[in-house]
């Protein structure tokens, strides 16, 4: 994972929050009051008072399916200095992972967040591994200070969509 960061939205990339399939989004080990939409959804993530917090221990497993195939370019995570995430592993196209099998597969990418990154600067991912993403699993393994719970203010995903066939546009060829 390169340490470069860009402080503005990367060129030609869009915010992928519109392509998230909200009905199947899951987050394991989230606290009941501080849940995933607080960090992911458009309005809530900008609200300073709302954040995502872990429950029983400091790990979080977030499963985000998309409603079409996308390429992921970079990710921005904002969190408090102490309880913000430190080691973040990304898995592509793995459905319904649990905490028990996160270590069975190698992650598509791993990001170590420093306190600097936690202010919301985007961190670029290994683009080649994220060309054909249907679902993204974010595993937050530990936080900055090793505290009991991890807090995340917002998660923004930047990328582009892959041109998928628009079935409505397909027309039958006329017989002459």
């Amino acid at each position: 994972m390169s340490g470069e960061s860009a402080s503005v939205i990367p060129r030609n990339q869009v915010d992928l929050v519109e392509f998230v399939d909200w009905s199947s989004v899951e987050c394991l080990n989230q606290s009941g009051t501080h849940s995933l939409p607080n960090a992911l959804k458009q309005g809530y993530r900008e609200d300073e008072g709302l954040h995502l917090e872990s429950d029983a221990d400091e790990q979080l497993l977030i499963y985000i399916p998309f409603n079409q195939v996308i390429k992921l370019h970079s990710i921005a995570i904002k969190g408090p200095e102490e309880e913000g995430p430190k080691t973040v592993k990304l898995f592509v196209n793995r459905e319904h992972m649990g905490f028990s099998n996160v270590n069975d597969y190698p992650p598509s990418d791993t990001a170590i967040f420093s306190e600097d990154n936690l202010t919301g600067k985007t961190v670029v991912v290994k683009y080649v591994k994220f060309q054909n993403v249907r679902s993204l699993t974010i595993f937050i393994e530990e936080n900055q200070s090793g505290s009991e719970t991890t807090k995340v203010q917002k998660i923004i995903l930047y990328g582009t969509t892959v041109e998928t066939t628009d079935m409505k546009g397909l027309k039958k060829i006329e017989d002459h």
Binding site: L28, N29, A56, D57, Q59
Partner: protein, 396 residues
């Protein structure tokens, strides 16, 4: 009707031979398991239930989560008692079985029957509990049979570690005259956090179900129950809407309070019968109509009563206040204001038509009523011209 996958952990250790529950602990447990399976599959047809035994040679899964009730009941048959219960292993295997459920949208739940002493220490149980919570698995504990202080403490600690928003429960069933399953029926384990299971439970216990025995025709019973709930919700929504309309319109205080009591009546009743609601409306509206008639006939006592009560409402309504000021000054103006109030009420088309339609004894086409209303309307012509034309057309 939560969509759930449940794993039931049965204790078939040697401690189950004891006869302090009739006929013996194991049989009572088996009855309870059968009842729970039935309730779960009834409350939502897509629910799945699985069963495993914790004692014997080792933890053994008898049936993986399935919605086929027959298969579940069949596997409970012919179980043998023996060995010692392994609580931790049982819960962990149950968690694994749930992890591999076919429908990932189902919520995960484990129901464990603990009849023998718990040999694991509190720390280990808490660790297990936290792992369950982390994987969002709910846990119900049925503690029966052997009772000792330690066991209770450990199970309470386990529950505290798992519990997330009260989705997990513990039930202590002491030995006594009532059967294990009867005691369980009234607990949240059966009623599923306070919803649908009570229908099944009522049927099982006292055949109190109205139209159809769920055992005979579960699909029809389900459809009926859903439609009744929808009807109830619709009525409550209609009641709320009517209450809002009342608040928006300019009315005397009696009208709004009578409407309010009607609304609270219909909302508070869990099984609100439509007849009863109309009954309430009829009684109140009869009183209203009486009062309107009395006022129109210049009955001084009633007029005074209305006037007194109107004063208290005056602060809310500028027009009303103005009218009342006039009435205080002059007697003739008093007539006018009362008439105006009544006219505002009576001129309200929707309200009038609803009253007249619901009153069984009053025929809108009755000439007497028509004359009365016509005289009202002539008075209100000056104030509300727009209502007149549709009113007269409707009355014809």
């Amino acid at each position: 009707m939560v969509l759930e996958a449940t794993m039931i952990c049965v204790d078939n250790s040697e401690w189950m031979r004891n006869g302090d529950y009739s006929p013996n602990r194991f049989q009572a447990q088996a009855d309870a398991v059968n009842l729970i399976c039935g309730a779960k599959t009834q409350s939502n047809p897509e629910n799945t239930v699985g069963v495993l035994t914790m004692a014997g040679k080792g933890v053994r899964v008898l049936v993986t989560p399935t919605s086929d009730l027959g298969k579940i009941l069949a596997c409970m048959h012919g179980l043998e008692i023996g060995g010692e219960m392994n609580l931790a292993a049982g819960i962990q295997v149950a968690q694994l079985a749930l992890k591999h459920r076919q429908n990932k949208k189902q919520q995960q739940r484990i129901i464990v029957f603990v009849g023998s002493p718990v040999k694991y220490d509190k720390k280990a149980l808490e660790l297990i509990g936290r792992k369950l919570k982390k994987n969002s698995v709910a846990l119900d504990i049925v503690s029966f049979g052997e009772e000792d202080e330690e066991k209770n403490e450990k199970l309470e600690a386990l529950l505290a570690a798992v519990n997330n928003n009260d989705s997990s429960h513990i039930v202590h069933v002491p030995c006594g005259p009532s059967a294990l399953s009867d005691v369980l029926i009234s607990t949240p384990i059966f009623t599923g956090d306070g919803e649908g299971g009570s229908g099944f439970a009522a049927a099982a216990a006292a055949s109190g179900y109205e139209f159809v025995d769920p055992n005979m025709d579960p699909e029809l019973a389900l459809a009926l129950r859903v439609s009744m709930e929808e009807e109830r919700a619709r009525q409550e929504a209609a009641a709320k809407k009517a209450a809002e309309e009342v608040a928006n319109q300019e009315k005397g205080e009696q009208q709004s309070t009578s409407q309010d009591t009607t609304m609270t009546d219909s909302v508070n009743l869990e099984t609100s019968r439509p007849e009863k609601k109309i009954q309430d409306l009829t009684d109140d509206e009869n009183a209203l109509l009486q009062q309107a008639l009395a006022m129109s006939m210049d009955d001084p006592s009633t007029k005074a009563a209305v006037q007194d009560i109107d004063m208290s409402d005056a602060s809310a309504d500028h027009d009303l206040q103005l009218a009342l000021q006039l009435s205080v000054q002059e007697e003739s103006a008093a007539d006018q204001s009362n008439q105006t109030d009544v006219n505002k009420l009576l001129a309200d088309q929707s309200f009038m038509s609803s009253i007249l339609a619901s009153l069984p004894g009053v025929d809108p086409n009755d000439p007497h009523v028509k004359d009365l209303l016509a005289s009202m309307q002539n008075q209100s012509e000056q104030t509300k011209e727009e209502d007149k034309a549709p009113k007269e057309e409707e009355k014809k």
